[in-house]
């Protein structure tokens, strides 16, 4: 069984983003970019399934600008076999990405797609679900435990009140939650080896996908700033403020 893992290049999770003064978006120039943290977890799970003998090959795919090759190489350094970049400078929204991934999944005849549950930049939490819908496959979202046996995936999912376990017929799409695993680090020899692994580049047109954005971003602004607070010297002062100033208790 082949597993496809989509990865996204995003602003590093530790960076405090700055909104551009013209309201057109956030500042991306000279900002540290990394692989979306949820996607690292997705790769780790795919690699573990390969190491357990469930999967035969792990393919990493990314959609976007040329620099996404670095993100794919990072995935190859972790242990994936090969990479695919669907290259475009058009702004890609989840529906377009899902359509591109559908084309790649069908071309590569994969049985399982494992993606992150959301990207930490657009916070959409849509692509895996959309991909499953387009492929007509079941979806196991927000996975914190995956067991694959007999053509089925039994997946424990993080839901609002706790955990829920459901069974899904393969082929399927799984989206990874933070608790699914602890991703490994790439070693230097593996980073060197990853440079020689195959990385195919294709265009959305070659896959027959129209990637025109459906949502128009009119503006991006900073959220309202909170008024600076005060430090209180002791608990008595805190209780006094909460009772008499903020009037919340």
């Amino acid at each position: 069984m082949k597993i496809l893992v989509p990865v996204k290049r995003v602003i590093d999770y530790n960076v405090k983003v700055r909104v551009k003064s013209d309201g057109s978006g956030v500042e991306l120039d000279n900002v540290k970019m990394s692989m979306n943290p949820f996607d690292e977890i997705a790769i780790e799970e795919a690699l573990r399934l390969k190491e357990a003998g469930v999967a035969t090959e792990v393919i990493v795919v990314s959609c976007g600008v040329t620099a996404c090759q670095e993100t794919i190489r990072a995935g190859l350094a972790l242990g994936a076999e090969r990479g695919i970049l669907v290259e475009t400078t058009t702004e890609l929204q989840p529906l377009a990405v899902a359509k591109l991934l559908k084309a790649v999944a069908e071309k590569e005849q994969v049985q399982l797609v494992i993606c992150g549950k959301q990207a930490i930049d657009d916070d959409a939490n849509q692509t895996g679900q959309m991909l499953a819908a387009l492929l007509g496959w079941p979806q196991a979202t927000f996975a914190s435990k995956v067991v694959i046996a007999d053509g089925k995936a039994s997946v424990t999912r993080e839901v609002d009140g706790g955990l829920e376990t459901d069974e899904f017929t393969l082929p399927a799409v799984i989206t990874a939650d933070l608790r699914l695993n602890e991703p490994r680090y790439a070693t230097l020899p593996n980073i060197m080896k990853a440079k020689k692994k195959p990385l195919d580049i294709m265009k959305p047109e070659a896959l027959g996908v129209d990637v025109t954005p459906r949502l128009k971003t009119l503006k991006v602004v900073e959220p309202p700033k909170r008024k600076a607070g005060i430090m209180v010297p002791d608990v008595a002062a805190l209780v006094d403020k909460l009772k008499n100033e903020a009037k919340v208790i």
Binding site: I11, Y13, N14, V17, V19, Q93, P94, L95, A98, K117, Q118, I120, D122, D123, N125, Q126, T127, Q129, M130, L131, A132, A133, L134, W137, P138, Q139, T141, F142, S144, S154, E158, V159, D160, G161, G162, L163, E164, T165, D166, F168, A172, R179, R214, L215, K216, L218, V220, V221, P223, G229, I230, M231, D234, V235, L238, V239, L242, A246, V248, I249
Partner: protein
Amino acid sequence: MSVLVIAEHDNASLKGATLNAVTAAVQLGGDVHVLVTGNNAATVAQSAAQVAGVAKVLLAEAPHLADGLAENLAEQILAIAKNYTHILAPATACGKNVMPRVAAKLDVAQISEISKIDSTDTFERPTYAGNAIATVQSADPIKVITVRTTGFDAAAATGGSAAVESIAAVGDSGKSRFLSRDLTKLDRPELGAAKVIVSGGRGVGSGENYHKLLEPLADKLGAALGASRAAVDAGFVPNDYQVGQTGKIVAPTLYIAVGISGAIQHLAGMKDSKVIVAINKDPEAPIFQVADYGLVGDMNVAVPELTAAI
């Protein structure tokens, strides 16, 4: 113009988050219908019919609809989707699971976690862990939307008198099956809807200390308990306590953060709280930059003192 709201429920009672989604639907204008899918869910449909602003409740019942599996729920929504200009669900685990599936089958973009409605096609939504607010416009014929519940007040649960109409249930997809559920038993207010939240982080030290320190304070305030990712990862409390970008988004009247440093991802989940109190021994902790009242000190002393003083 007609707006469909997908009800969230457990076949026995309507979840509070649905009421916030109804408020968003009412703001859009037009007739507001609520879809209840489940099994033996007539009482839920009756509750939905009493929600102020709801014009009609559609009820689809079948055993395979009981557990809200996305494969079946999406088909049920799609069966009636073409009658509506907007389809809304609360941005809960259930709403986030099913709505993108519906949108993709309709070949429209989904708009996640809207926090404000500017017009019938223009919405505001937080991105980058709440550090940027994007205003987006959709040209799609059907707008498929999840609603950030803290962005909209809850609609009144009574005062409405909508008719309940049964509709045909779709068939079972056969692609997924519910196995089991392991829910955290809470005798406290639900985190998402609580007026007061007491939340603990790594600084609390242990699960034992978390319960010993924070529960009496929460009891006294009638508060829900929350946690940072660090506290969850360390095993102090279950995952569903987590407040933040990847956990629950909350906006209570009072949020008390104990032993929480205030990472970007945690702030994303609570910085819209009305009043934030931080108790931390590190005066440099970023949480103090968003706290209305900060107290630098040992929580093992300060929290019991606070519990005793209120």
